[in-house]
Assembly symmetry: C2
Homo-oligomer: 311 residues x 2
């Protein structure tokens, strides 16, 4: 594949989703209305979004040499995501998560196991592997991501950050980030009383070129060279919001790769996020490029009319 390539560092899991009417009990047998086993994790799903759109993407993660780790990598490879940078730890267990989805509400409960692979440490990553890619995608401010961000920054590689988890080194980390995209779970802990304007201003103060705060069904607020704007979300029949944020991040990076104007990037990322809510699972309904184009042919005008500039 020619064209620019993104590399992403982050957690990866095997998600086992069961859609059920009520909480399972210990002494009964019940039926799930749907079941899906699918790889998860913010960075891998963002990379799958990129690959579906036709961009080159590599995943730099940590798995065990167990069947779950094999599944994670095989599924990514089948999606066209290069997993050759992955660190495979002999004898280690890969991350798995049981996701119980309540049929009526779509609410989700997670059950994970403790003894499993997590972040790559600085000692486990390689500078050349990071800087050989054109874009870097990160999902946390842990020491491994911090090291990767420093190397990418020194090499002039743009960095997209998916900010969901609070980390004590977050402010130091943000100085390295060109494109921070933060979401409500992080902001609730990091700046609990802040307005969206204050959030993107803080990101801007750290040097962000485009600072984005995503608000789910309420759209996104972005601050860039021309000011701060509220962008609406696209209306879509929601089945499962899992992975909507990850889809946004992957599509945002796709837009950067095309050197599109900022409004076009936000429009495209919002569309991909909305389209990814149509089926159960974080990756099931990630669109290809022509699906997004068809969707935007109908929906773009109404969306653009909803953009509001903050004063």
């Amino acid at each position: 594949m020619s064209g620019p390539r993104a590399i992403g560092l982050g957690l990866c899991t095997v998600d086992m989703l069961f859609v059920v009417d009520e909480r399972p009990a210990f002494d009964t047998t019940m039926r799930a209305s749907q079941y899906l086993r699918q790889g998860g994790g913010p960075t891998p799903t963002a990379l799958v979004a990129l690959a579906r759109l036709g961009a080159a993407a590599s995943f730099y993660g940590k798995v065990g040499d167990d069947p779950d780790g094999d599944f994670i990598r095989a599924e990514l490879e089948a999606e066209g995501v290069d997993t050759s940078p992955c660190v495979v730890v002999p004898g280690a267990l890969s991350r798995v998560a049981l996701v119980l989805v309540e049929a009526a509400s779509g609410e989700r409960g997670f059950t994970t196991r403790p003894e499993s692979c997590a972040d790559l440490s600085p000692a486990e990553i390689d500078r050349e592997t990071i800087t050989a890619a054109d874009y870097l995608h990160l999902d946390d401010a842990d020491p491994g991501c911090m090291q990767a961000a420093r190397w990418a920054r020194e090499a002039g590689r743009p960095i997209v950050y998916d900010g969901t988890w609070l980390h004590e080194d977050l402010d130091e980390f943000l100085d390295l980030i060109d494109f921070p995209i933060v979401s409500e779970p992080l902001v609730r802990k990091w700046m609990p009383d802040a307005t969206p304007q204050q959030v993107v201003d803080r990101l801007g103060d750290h040097g962000a070129q485009i600072a984005v705060y995503t608000l789910g069904a309420r759209g996104a607020v972005a601050r860039w060279q021309h000011g701060t704007f509220h962008y609406p979300a696209f209306p879509v029949e929601v089945v499962d919001t899992t992975g909507a944020g990850d889809a946004f991040h992957g599509a945002f990076t796709y837009g950067l790769m095309q050197h599109w104007p900022v409004d076009d990037i936000l429009c495209f990322a919002s569309a991909v996020a909305a389209l990814n809510c149509r089926q159960l699972g974080g990756r099931s309904s990630l669109p290809n490029l022509s699906e997004v184009e068809d969707f935007l042919a109908n929906e773009r005008k109404a969306w653009e009319a909803g953009i509001k500039k903050h004063t």
Copy 2:
């Protein structure tokens, strides 16, 4: 592999076991203390028991061509169980089950999905495949198993039946069975007020050579040529009783293959069932032959002293 070979028909699943302290809720994240993804189903597990002991075993089951079906077959093949007879249905979904194990009690709750492969129908099975094996193992009295039993009977192949589920054609089916081994879930529905003697007598009236009623930790009652006897269970530190019955059935068939005396077969099968309770999962602690021999070297005398003849 030389020596006799068993073929087994029955259901197969992928079990996903999570050991948890309490029922999962929809709005929380909790930790499981253990997680295991493992193939399940009575017949496949009995065949793995046989293979671990060194006997040849083939599985005749139905799976989809989905990743779960691939997992079921690959795991059996890795255990040395031949899966070449399996019927792989294009586009179908294989059976999966979420098994939540309560840490304190060991109690289990099952969540399954409805849309998945079940029994082989008579039209899906092949006579030559059944009769080419030396022993037939069945887990139900459904039409496919009934057809297989008729063919095996005509060809003079001994049939071992794992009786757990009640079927309307059970009595007709039992006329074909040399070695019925029934358990409490079946007996509670089939002969709710019967004594163990009455249960094995009814099996004997249908022509059983050895009629066995397994009672979990309370051992087993068997009726054969020399009378009816109560055989004790072996004492063992129980972690999970999943698959104990299946282990018993596989080891029982192993004993038949060796033409051992009936007491020796019951002793061996009871030992393998006990040893299979040492770890989480239906197959995790299935022993090999030397493990059973080592165990029996210490435990056999006490066990034999516990045999009681019914008067």
